[in-house]
């Protein structure tokens, strides 16, 4: 098919009022070559044109060959930090366990974008303030009861209720409040939002990992039954040891291929990799250190997905030496981003441009020039700012992931421009402290590096870390122009308008440099070569229903 006739076909996909208009803007972007076909299809899913996206082959699972069912998938995970309850989970291990049994309205698949799960279709009204979701009929919880709109509404009401101690409250702040989710009929749910949001489907997707659909009478005792709708159901659970799950014969979709999933919790990642090497595990989470242990070994594969995870360095814009934006820019200019991606992250990352707009976000404006290492320019800016011989500053950060190494790399690059960085590396919980301004090294330090996990949209990064009133605004960035641009960005209804607004934000952040974001890292897992079809998201969901053994 020629591109031209392809485009004509695409134009006629949506005849629904405003959705049609937005869709046609996206098609124009695609026609002019600003949008990859894959991104266009992902966008179709966001607008609720799921049926169309499926017809274009977007929702077919990766494994095309006929796989034999059977077998037990043995999984190593970290030690969950507390009782496993969808409403309060925060740690990767618990998310890995919950993804065996729990499902979302929509799955945000790293490869294929939004995929309908317990919701089959969705659409917004004119203002994008009211979103309506059609539920998949006839889905049953593991205890045999049918999933209705009442369960879905109760699940979201629980998450946005401050009294429930839900860890998703910050994700919904300013977007959805108590009373916002409503039953329309047994198979339809509507959400009245606090303000317009064109990206709302992401907020009811797996991106908010707490948004698992549980029965309306759920009482917080998830570990007793693990009662969800997923392709596996509970066989046994031993706190602090592990859990096992068996195929759910009443699953609404394709039945899981493996008979069982066996999960074992590990306190020590060394022990985890040893158990994998001894052939006692099939899948484990990955860290840079563990990757070294299996490098070049044909018995193991390293699988990675693109993500928006990043470790921003914040520069306190209200405190010397970083009150002058020239000084902030100078420090950012000392970093050789390509070297960080190749060396520290072994190429499993993409270069960042000091804004939260990761390349995987379709709304990011790719035409904004990439900042590169330029020591001469850095020195010139320091001279202009009145510190030609550099200055001394302390970088405070956490002992987590690759961050301590990254801090040393920044320290070495900064030396080239005469900036003398002293390192202060704290244990993770000490670094976060009470996570409120005034009693948290994270939010109070002059210069610091923090770990941010993957999000499906840049919204929460833009709001919480950079808005003047943001709860995670460690840079203490207080810029009325930025705050105004952010409002424009939120109002933008179509992809083109979003990109224009994003471009302005990206340009402003490059000029101001409250944050240095030199990379967006991928999310990886180590898998035995004997298994095929392990899928996962960048926020630790582990999908094993399509796994088969070679």
């Amino acid at each position: 098919m020629t591109k031209r006739s392809d485009i004509d076909l695409l134009r006629n996909q949506s005849t629904r009022g405003h959705t049609g208009d937005i869709w046609n803007v996206a098609v124009d972007e695609y026609a002019q070559g600003f949008l990859k076909r894959r991104d266009l299809l992902k966008y179709a899913a966001l607008l609720g044109l799921a049926g169309f996206a499926a017809s274009q082959g977007l929702f077919t699972p990766g494994a095309a060959r006929a796989a034999t069912p059977g077998g037990t998938v043995r999984v190593g995970l970290g030690q969950p930090t507390k009782a496993i309850d969808p409403v309060t989970i925060t740690d990767p291990a618990s998310i890995g366990v919950i993804s065996q049994v729990g499902e979302y309205l929509i799955l945000d698949d790293p490869k294929d974008g939004l995929q309908p799960k317990l919701a089959v279709s969705w659409e917004a009204d004119e203002t994008a303030k009211r979103w309506t979701f059609k539920l998949r009929p006839g889905v049953k919880f593991h205890d045999g009861r049918t999933v209705t709109a009442k369960d879905v509404v109760a699940s979201f009401e629980r998450l946005v209720d401050p009294a429930s101690g839900s860890s998703a409250l910050s994700a919904y702040k300013g977007i959805l409040s108590k009373g916002g989710a409503k039953v329309v009929d047994d198979e339809t749910v509507a959400f009245d939002l606090d303000q317009s949001n064109s990206n709302f489907p992401f907020y009811v997707s797996s991106d908010v990992y707490n948004a698992v659909i549980v029965p309306s009478d759920y009482a917080g005792d998830f570990e007793k039954t693990f009662n969800g709708t997923g392709p596996f159901k509970l066989e046994s659970f031993r706190p602090k040891q592990g859990a096992s799950f068996v195929r759910n014969p009443d699953y609404w979709g394709d039945k899981a291929l493996p008979d069982r999933v066996e999960i074992k919790f590990f306190d020590d990642e060394q022990a985890q990799v040893l158990a994998l090497q001894a052939g006692q595990l099939d899948v484990i989470p990955s860290t840079t250190r563990l990757e070294l242990a299996i490098e070049g070994n044909p018995n193991f594969k390293l699988l990675s997905v693109q993500a928006s995870s990043h470790d921003p360095a914040h520069l306190r814009t209200d405190q010397a030496p970083f009150t002058d934006k020239r000084v902030r820019r100078a420090l950012a200019l000392t970093i050789d981003r390509e070297a960080v991606v190749k060396g520290l992250l072994k190429g499993r990352a993409v270069v960042g441009n000091d804004t939260p707009f990761a390349p995987i976000f379709p709304s990011a404006d790719p035409s904004v020039p990439q900042r590169k290492q330029d020591i001469t320019e850095a020195k010139r800016l320091l001279g202009e700012a009145g510190v030609p011989n550099g200055f001394e500053v302390t970088l405070t950060t956490e002992r987590a992931y690759d961050i301590p190494d990254y801090a040393v790399i920044i320290q070495n690059f900064a030396k080239k421009a005469g900036i003398d960085i002293k390192l202060n590396v704290l244990p993770q919980d000490a670094y976060y402290g009470s996570a409120t301004f005034g009693s948290s090294p994270w939010l109070d330090s002059n210069l610091g590096i923090t770990d941010f996990g993957h999000r499906g949209t840049p919204d929460i990064f833009l709001n919480a870390t950079l808005k003047s009133s943001g709860a995670w605004n460690a840079a203490h960035f207080n810029n009325p122009d930025y705050d105004a641009l952010l409002i424009d960005y939120g109002k933008a209804r179509d992809l083109q308008a979003q990109r224009v607004a994003a471009g302005k934000i990206q340009t402003l952040l490059l000029d101001e440099t409250p944050l240095i974001i030199s990379y967006f890292s991928q999310y990886s897992r180590i898998v035995s070569s004997k298994v095929e079809g392990v899928r996962f998201t960048a926020i630790s969901h582990l999908l094993l229903d399509k796994v088969s053994f070679v």
Binding site: T81, P162, P239, K264, F265, F266, D267, A271, L274, D429
Partner: protein, 319 residues
């Protein structure tokens, strides 16, 4: 019954120790950064949700009120619910004790005969090549940290030779032998670490006892060498060794955080560490108190054994 009074005094000091420890744990919790709700919901949770969770858990109450609430229940044997696991503390602690005791048992099973045997050989032949080898090997082994030897042993015996399972925790429903088999590899680094110490103590005891007057008297009385060795030399020589083994048992039951983590054994050390990380005070209190009780009682048992073995001590404790 001269032995009873010191025991009563011991029990009194044990209770006092436990009470002090429980108060210290509570106080220490106040200096740790972050509150319970914050630690449980993570740094990115909304402040309102954190405050609400603290209210629910009662962790927003003044410290003295919290302590009193905990203490008044604990004194009746109710250690409350774990904050992080949302379940009663007791079963967790009991299974922690069970797993730690099993590991300590396997360690002692190897440590006592090998350590004492090597020490006796070295003591009887002091100055010989065998003696020097035993002492040198013991010292060399004791300076290798347990996480290093643990990893090496895991790689050699668990991975390459595959003689032992990687995990120290046996699967569900495993019998006594299977469970013990799973514990051999985790026990080894500790055995290696302590064996030199036990052997040196025994050796010194043997050398002292052989040089003592009572040994010379026994030999002059015409007793056979084996009678001399077992009745006179060893009985006296092992007094310091018994004390050492008793105090080390306390450490084996509660201080094995590294080995437990490496081999995935849910023992007391692991329980206390994860409770501290999660600011889970009921769990932390119960775990630490059990550990303290073990430390104090193993020390007491050591003293008691010493008294039983050493006639001079028995006389000293008499009025």
């Amino acid at each position: 019954m001269a032995i009873v009074r010191p025991l009563v005094a011991r029990a009194g000091s044990l209770l006092l120790t436990l009470w002090l420890v429980s108060a210290l744990v509570f106080l220490a919790g106040q200096v740790l950064p972050g509150d319970v709700g914050r630690v449980m919901l993570g740094p990115f949770a909304d402040a309102q949700a954190v405050a609400e969770l603290n209210r629910k858990l009662g962790t927003d109450q003044p410290i003295l009120a919290q302590y009193w609430h905990w203490f008044s229940l604990a004194i009746r044997g109710d250690f409350g619910d774990s904050l992080s696991m949302r379940a009663p503390v007791a079963p967790f602690v009991l299974s922690g004790i069970k797993n730690s005791a099993a590991l300590a048992g396997v360690v002692l099973l190897f440590l006592v005969p090998i350590g004492i045997g090597a020490g006796v050989v070295a003591g009887l032949r002091s100055g010989s090549l065998a003696d020097r080898l035993i002492v040198l090997t013991g010292v060399s082994l004791s300076i290798v940290p347990d996480f290093v030897s643990g990893l090496l042993l895991l790689m050699v015996f668990g991975l390459w030779l595959a003689w032992f399972p990687i995990s120290g925790a046996a699967p569900d429903g495993a019998g006594f032998w299977t469970s013990s088999y799973h514990l051999i590899l985790p026990a080894l680094p500790l055995v290696l670490n302590l064996i030199g110490y036990v052997a040196r103590m025994t050796r010194a005891g043997v050398i002292d006892a052989r040089a003592a007057d009572y040994t010379r008297t026994a030999i002059l009385k015409g007793l056979t060498p084996s009678q001399v060795l077992f009745k006179h030399v060893l009985r006296n020589a092992l007094v310091p060794t018994v004390a050492v083994i008793a105090t080390q048992s306390g450490f084996l039951l509660g201080g094995l955080v590294v080995i437990e983590a490496l081999f995935g054994i849910q023992g007391l050390g692991n329980l206390v560490l994860s409770a501290a990380k999660a600011r889970d005070f009921p769990m932390l209190e119960a775990g630490v108190l059990v550990m303290a009780a073990i430390f104090v009682s193993t020390a007491a048992i050591g003293d008691l054994l010493q008294a039983l073995l050493d006639p001079r001590q028995r006389r000293r404790s008499a009025p």
